[in-house]
Subunit: 140 residues, 6 copies
Amino acid sequence: MTDDTDETRRARAKRTLAEYHGPFGEQVIARLADVAPDFADQLVDYAFGDVYSRPGLDRRAREIATLAGLAALGNAEPQLKWHIRGALNIGITRTEVIEILSQMAIYGGFPAGVRALMAAKEVFDEIDEFATELARQDDA
Amino acid sequence: MTDDTDETRRARAKRTLAEYHGPFGEQVIARLADVAPDFADQLVDYAFGDVYSRPGLDRRAREIATLAGLAALGNAEPQLKWHIRGALNIGITRTEVIEILSQMAIYGGFPAGVRALMAAKEVFDEIDEFATELARQDDA
Amino acid sequence: MTDDTDETRRARAKRTLAEYHGPFGEQVIARLADVAPDFADQLVDYAFGDVYSRPGLDRRAREIATLAGLAALGNAEPQLKWHIRGALNIGITRTEVIEILSQMAIYGGFPAGVRALMAAKEVFDEIDEFATELARQDDA
Amino acid sequence: MTDDTDETRRARAKRTLAEYHGPFGEQVIARLADVAPDFADQLVDYAFGDVYSRPGLDRRAREIATLAGLAALGNAEPQLKWHIRGALNIGITRTEVIEILSQMAIYGGFPAGVRALMAAKEVFDEIDEFATELARQDDA
Amino acid sequence: MTDDTDETRRARAKRTLAEYHGPFGEQVIARLADVAPDFADQLVDYAFGDVYSRPGLDRRAREIATLAGLAALGNAEPQLKWHIRGALNIGITRTEVIEILSQMAIYGGFPAGVRALMAAKEVFDEIDEFATELARQDDA
Amino acid sequence: MTDDTDETRRARAKRTLAEYHGPFGEQVIARLADVAPDFADQLVDYAFGDVYSRPGLDRRAREIATLAGLAALGNAEPQLKWHIRGALNIGITRTEVIEILSQMAIYGGFPAGVRALMAAKEVFDEIDEFATELARQDDA
């Protein structure tokens, strides 16, 4: 297939990353690239070029699955917070995020569920503070 | 609230269990009840009476989350197989199951993803064999 | 059973929570309730209304089991610290806490054991500092 | 200290192993020793010579902690089954075993709790079958 | 880069897979491809085309790392057994395999270490039985 | 064996600890000994007196295995950082550390791999800052 070169895979990866995570996507990857640039590229190409961009599962379902998986694991707080932002970004509601994370207490244990919800609270608070700050600047 | 007695919670739990897992729901619980009957009741009441029956997240989303969480954990094969059946039961397709489990390799590691997919294959094969058996009996 | 309504389950849950964790119990739950109030209630009702309040295992045994489980998991530091306080609260000694956590290095690995003991040290230090502070105020 | 030589540590380890696990202790270790004899010795010396034989925590508490830790981990079935036998051996009741394992569902997740209880059922059944078989031989 | 197309990545992946796992490599992948063919390709391309084939770490070091990681995880027995074969295949000795797995008991817990060593024993026994069988056929 | 007394095991443990971790070894142990002195001794005696000092696996291989196991576990950041320093200390290069940790994303999941690499970056930065500080003092 002519168009299935690495460059295309790269472009698809970057487009899909942006689609899910907006400007925050590249920022997070940049920090990783600082220590392991090749790995950062490979991760983006694999996750977003090969997996998230596949047909067969809609975007909402993919992001629900990721929130659930990260919450169940119970030890991936930075990644969970990043994906909570991503979930809100693609239209999953705060209530839905809370329901997904709460449900994972059944599978990963209540402590994992509690930690996931606390991470959600941090993300919600950060977003609200940012919005408040923006509004204050607009008023000035 | 008058109707929020334990009996109603019980009824809601049993109805929701059946909704997700059909006749297999009670069968699995019966085996657990053989060794720990109170725990079996508490599990069903909590998971299906308190969590799965809540508004705020649709049934499809709840089952996707559970498949993802169990696959990411990577050590819950019997429960994963049970929920793969449940997912198919409520209308999630085989392709979607495969996409969800494959995606979890990103978060729980490739070995966890591979084991989840192998569990899915076993469930699909069991269902196909059962269907073939039924068809043979119909022909006879 | 007339008295087995949700309200009674709730009351039993709150009484048992207080029994194990004293005033700290409600404080921790309040923070969780800030983001997920229904889940916070369900967690307390399940853990303390259904499980910890059951006959068949004494309170000391239940708290030993919890310290051990959390230490073995190795990723539940906030919950472990909360339960170390709970354990001391119901009469388990500091030496016993250290022995339980040390033993878990066998099962969850030495890093998990070390992290659990470091968490215990933080709790002991917090308690000692609080006691010192109280004594200073009494002297004044 | 004159008596704290490796030989004494070894003897203490073997005595403590037998105290907890009876004749099954050496059998399990023998299988491990078949592939990694030095590791088998080191494991017994560490676990039973250094840890289980320490003062500061009673035998009942140590075995409760171990059942809980293994159940919470959720992936250590052979070791959990071995320790369920050990727990019964030192006087912990079947009801207590069930309560401990059920409680761990809170911390390690319900699937881990269910798998632990199923492992307990297997051990109970094995013991009962063995007793039935013995009784049959006595009758003959 | 002209030669960095997907086809070349594919070829590099297949060559590296064969280098580490010999004929067993393709066999294992074939079973996975039966349920999830795209994922099977992506896994091979990522693991062997992107990672194992990179410069910067020698083959012996890569395989030691993999044995250690899988043993520490403690729930990836099929993958661990596959990589024990791979390790022997590239010249790591049985003694070295045993030392690596034993050492992981420090980090993943003794039960994980024991299970890893039992998996090694199964692989060694399978290889020995196969060799005995071959010798018998040669004699005939 | 005359020389296999506890004292010799102790000496071997301390020598091996220093060999791998230099002066940082005793410092880390001292903090643990502050809360659990016997456990701190037992850990050092087991890990460094019994395991790391064994023949059958070279020092480089042992440290690679440990980095890999800790990275795959994904929840042992303090221990991983300590061992990254240890690895550099015995001659493993920064590039090799990055390759080992990146490879573990395959087995423990990408989030575990990312967290391990971020921990490596912290260690590298701490070392560089310390070197810069030393150079500044030399210049003064």
